[in-house]
């Protein structure tokens, strides 16, 4: 993937996010995330049924990196079972922290591979993923 494509993916998910909306019905688990160093202020909603993530969406105020990263995460986790989702989240965290990771499962989320260049924005890139982790914890 070229860097131009990667930029385009980030900007597309920022300017026209697919999953940035309130949940369409009841039954979603909600985690509120607030970042201290950015003003990201997000609610992440996940509908988990029978060991599977049926739907994921988010809403709130967020910068380019957090909006785009959370939107891509929602796309990625939808229809995955809990075990696979946890694995994907783990690989994403490894990538962000410059540790070895399995890039095959990250799909578009690979565009955040450079986040560590801007240490102040690591929190932005991971805010939605941390929320998903909260929801899946103990499941």
């Amino acid at each position: 993937m070229t860097s131009q494509m990667m930029r385009q993916i980030i900007m597309d998910h920022y300017s026209d996010p697919i999953n940035k909306h309130q949940p369409p019905k009841e039954g979603y688990e909600k985690v509120h995330m607030h970042s201290d160093n950015c003003i990201d202020d997000l609610d992440i909603f996940m509908l988990v049924e029978n060991g599977k993530i049926v739907d994921a969406c988010f809403d709130g105020v967020a910068c380019t990196i957090s909006t785009s990263s959370t939107d891509i995460m929602c796309e990625l986790l939808k229809d995955k079972d809990i075990k696979d989702s946890k694995y994907i989240i783990e690989q994403f965290q490894h990538m962000i922290h410059e540790e070895p990771f399995d890039e095959d499962v990250l799909d578009e989320a690979i565009v955040f591979i450079n986040t560590s260049k801007q240490a102040a924005r690591i929190r932005c890139a991971t805010i939605g993923w941390n929320a998903a982790n909260e929801v899946l914890k103990g499941k």
């Binding site: 070229t2 860097s3 910068c63 380019t64 591979i113 450079n114």
Partner: protein
């Protein structure tokens, strides 16, 4: 003649070739904190290497000398803001000073139904202590309104003040918009209504000539680290009569003269009454040196330098139509802005990539942004060592900074075909 290049030579952070993102550091976040000149660093170092001892504790020469040094520092602070030395309480900074007024004076004297007036432009440190004290006493926190430009005027204070008002607490210079508030005339109105006037001087004392007696306010709090001094030290200036009747909210060693097993305590006279525990001695000495350093340059000259830099920046940016200046009337070394269509944090990240430090966010003034109708802002702030070249770099980055994602993809090529993994890691 103000020679900024000569001044810069005295700051290791400016002479040590510090880089950020592999680019020369341009530090424009001076509202947040400031660099320290070598003389301040040396003064602290001397305490640790040559003169270490506690004050008020020993019968030996080192300790006596230390007492004299602390007295000297108190005199230097008093001279700098024109108050009496026994009106200078050393604190850990503005936050501690405002908390001391809230809990030492407010908690002692406020009753249910009394009113405290602050504004929505105040820093959290001048909001939350009052919220807490209001909860404990049943007092009510009221907000004075802005004028149409976001400034705080005495006329608007008059609209909300009443005989129920017991405390008015306002920043002399707001930390987001940088407007200078006429706290002197506000103090007069406060006094006419039987209230005391508290001034948050965190952003004003480092930049503006501040005369405690002339302002005739009752309390003034400020921090050393925003004026080339050490972190963790500051001063609360209070009229002696008020200091005398308020309670210490931190008690222990050094602030009492006698106590017995019935619970009877005699506290020492102010300011010692408020300085329980071993003080931050090294920083008190550093604080004194910072003030001497500033007095050598001249606070009026520093203020003029700030004004010149902000005018210069505004002039260079006047045709840049993506720029939205949120404090067009402010000249006190603060430019608050947003770039149309760009999230403030994203702009700050792009500037970081160019080696430029500014602040983005709510600047601890979470209530103000509702008035500004924006969730957050970018804030550029200058100080005595800022140069026009710093402003040039900043202006160039704003206008020609490129895509906000450049910060993450610092290869500028549009047609990379390499595998992403090796491509991006090789840039580090």
């Amino acid at each position: 003649m103000y020679d900024v290049y000569e001044i810069r030579k005295q700051f290791p952070m400016l002479t040590n070739d510090i880089k950020m993102q592999n680019k020369p550091l341009v530090f424009l976040d001076n509202c947040s904190t400031t660099f320290k000149p070598q003389c301040v660093i040396d003064a602290e170092m001397e305490y640790y290497t040559k003169t270490t001892s506690n004050s008020h504790r020993g019968d030996y020469d080192l300790s006596v000398k230390m007492d004299e040094k602390i007295d000297e520092a108190r005199n230097v602070v008093a001279h700098f803001v024109n108050c009496e030395p026994n009106e200078v309480v050393f604190t850990s900074g503005t936050t501690a000073g405002l908390n001391l007024v809230a809990f030492g004076y407010g908690l002692r004297f406020l009753k249910a139904g009394d009113e405290i007036i602050i504004s929505e432009a105040e820093h959290a440190s001048n909001v939350l202590p009052w919220f807490e004290v209001a909860k404990l006493t049943g007092a009510i926190v009221k907000f004075m309104p802005f004028d149409e430009c976001g400034r705080l005027t005495t006329d608007n204070l008059k609209k909300v003040i009443s005989k129920k008002t017991k405390i008015v607490s306002i920043a002399n210079v707001g930390n987001v918009l940088g407007y200078i508030t006429d706290v002197k005339s506000m103090g007069k109105v406060a006094h006419e209504n039987g209230a005391i006037m508290v001034v948050d001087g965190a952003q004003s004392v480092p930049h503006l000539k501040t005369d405690f007696k002339d302002l005739d306010c009752d309390f003034l709090a400020f921090s050393a680290h925003k004026m080339c001094g050490p972190t963790g030290i500051g001063a609360l200036i209070g009229k002696y009569g008020l200091l005398d009747k308020m309670s210490p909210y931190l008690v222990g060693g050094g602030n009492n003269s006698t106590f017995d097993n019935t619970g009877a305590v005699n506290y020492r006279l102010p300011p010692a009454k408020f300085e329980a525990g071993t003080q931050n001695i090294a920083s008190i000495i550093g604080f004194m040196e910072a003030i001497k350093f500033i007095e050598k340059i001249g606070i009026e000259a520093i203020h003029a330098h700030d004004i010149e830099l902000i005018r210069y920046a505004k002039e260079k940016l006047k045709d840049f139509d993506k720029l939205e200046v949120l404090n067009p009337l402010g000249e006190n070394g603060i430019l608050t802005f947003n770039i149309k269509g760009v999230f403030p944090q994203d702009e700050a990240t792009l500037l970081n990539y160019k080696g430029i430090a500014i602040r983005s966010g709510e600047h601890c003034a979470k209530l103000l942004h509702a008035f500004l109708k924006t969730k957050a802002t970018c804030r550029m702030s200058t100080y005595l060592y800022t140069t026009k070249e710093d402003i040039d770099v900043f202006v160039d980055a704003l206008i020609n900074g490129g895509d906000i994602l450049d910060a993450y993809f610092n290869d500028q090529s549009n047609d990379e075909t390499n595998h992403h993994g090796s491509l991006f890691r090789s840039n580090q």
